[in-house]
Symmetry: C2
């Protein structure tokens, strides 16, 4: 490595999308070497790692590693590696990903709110029948998690006409959103929400938070079929046996789940076939290399020039 | 009838919703008599008619009829009565109805754009598979009909991130929308649109406009499954045999239809069972008496005081 050549990038992600990430980095940062694994030959040159669910230990002992970039808005998959070196971890904050997630949330909220599942049942039966149709401004969508994604979803849902509530670990103020915070705020927040959208990070504090005890606190007044749960965050937030129990007992009216305890969702999971569950395959917001790589390269170049990294993860908080 | 008593209201709509309309009028205009049919006793007192698909002739020869209020944004059902007296016809322009229609359009656009039908097929097969996901700003939603409903839908879709095109009979300028007008503009408009949303009024000029020849002009580049048709206007706009042919030949990728040539859609219609068709039962935007009656009463009171009626129908244009 000469003084003037910029550092090597180590990329680690799922096999299917790895070639696309490598290709876009090679095209947009032609002066940098891109590698996809460890080797005594180049380990000393690696300055940046770009990872999704890296193998534990992958990043140990890289002498010149400066930062780790997460592929995806959540970083639990990065932090799960207990041997992760003590370097800055950068999350993705990109309009492209934010917009995809926001549109996914609006899609699922509208599909539940406008009774998509029930209308599709009626179509299968060739039955023409109107279902009750609540006005959007009589319904409160509660968003758990008020980061960049939660705030974008709130803004779009407000524009459709819904009332908004929001819950976060620490108190936040978001225009047009009735906000609640911390453990004490959870009950009042859930009691005020008809449709609950989950965009929380997965941390030790949020793991399994979507459980039976929580569903008992949901409001059940406005939606014809009962409260709705939409999890577009992480599968580790939810207890799937509790979701099924709550649906079967009527504590929950229906659920849209994009994430699961085990992904891919095993074919034998009853969620696939539950009449009150919409399953999507962690498709809320794809991380598109074309959209995200330019932002990562810009941060690497800034950092090389001594400027601070942005969108850093608080490793103590876990997000 | 004394000088001071306000005029009687004649209400005519489908049997199922008639009691609700009568009830809300009686509650909100207690000084007015409300009748639901003709009678020599009260015909002379009727000043306003509030109708949905009235029986032809219902309104003939009412000596003091001042105006007809349509239940619903479209007025084709009112004008279809060739014996309709030559009095002003008032359409519904109400935020409540506009919002319901806008949210319906956003719902159906997102469901098609995010490949809802394909993901539901995958769920039925318990198959975990990502489908290609285009960015919203690479897709143009074209709106046919740029009245109050079309403009509201455009604003909401733009906020989600779509590019917008619009077509109307006469040239209009709408912020953020590439507009086209008249017969000459139709080809270029369709060539620029990936998803076509129809919110046109049904008039002699638009009857059957959604036909095979039109579908041949659709753009077919961006949506993975091909161009999408969403008709939330009137069933008389569409030629259903042509829609099926275009879907089967791949000219159209998929369709969301809320309105039909015959309503209720007959159980034997192949549309119910077509794998590329989403059927909803004219549920785009319900006309809710609670939301609309206050606006009608306000107009009646204004008119009684000599002020002009608003949202008048141009009977020559048919909308």
């Amino acid at each position: 490595m000469t003084q003037s050549s910029p550092g090597t990038i180590l990329i680690s992600t799922d096999e299917a999308s790895l070639p696309a990430w490598v290709g876009v980095f090679e095209r947009l940062a032609p002066d940098r070497r891109v590698v996809t694994g460890r080797s005594a030959d180049h380990d000393g040159d690696i300055e940046y790692a770009v990872v999704w669910s890296q193998s534990p230990g992958l990043l140990i002992g890289l002498p010149n590693l400066k930062a780790v970039f997460s592929i995806g808005a959540g970083v639990d998959h990065v932090l799960a590696d207990e041997s992760l070196p003590d370097v800055p971890v950068v999350r993705v904050v990109a309009d492209d990903l934010t917009n995809r997630m926001g549109e996914f949330v609006v899609w699922q909220v509208l599909d539940q709110f406008r009774q998509g599942p029930a209308y599709r049942d009626l179509q299968r039966q060739a039955t023409w029948k109107w279902l009750p149709q609540t006005a959007a401004d009589a319904v409160t969508v509660g968003i758990m998690g008020l980061g960049v994604l939660g705030q974008d979803a709130a803004r779009k849902l407000a524009m459709i006409g819904f009332k908004l509530a929001g819950w976060s670990r620490t108190a936040k103020s978001v225009e047009g959103v009735a906000t609640y915070a911390g453990e004490d705020g959870l009950g009042p927040f859930l009691g005020a929400s008809d449709i609950v959208v989950v965009l929380l990070p997965l941390t030790p504090a949020t793991s399994g938070i979507l459980n039976y005890e929580l569903f008992e606190k949901f409001r059940r007044s406005t939606m014809p079929s009962g409260p709705v749960l939409i999890n577009a965050g992480r599968g580790g937030l939810q207890v799937e046996t509790d979701i099924i129990r709550a649906l079967d007992e009527g504590l929950l009216g229906s659920a849209s789940l994009d994430v699961f305890e085990t992904e891919p969702l095993p074919a034998e999971s009853p969620l696939w076939r539950h009449p009150k569950v919409t399953v999507t395959p962690h498709a809320g917001g794809n991380s598109e290399p074309e959209a995200l790589v330019p932002l990562m390269i810009a941060q690497m170049e800034d950092h090389d020039r001594g400027r601070p990294l942005r969108n850093l993860v608080d490793r103590a908080a876990g997000y």
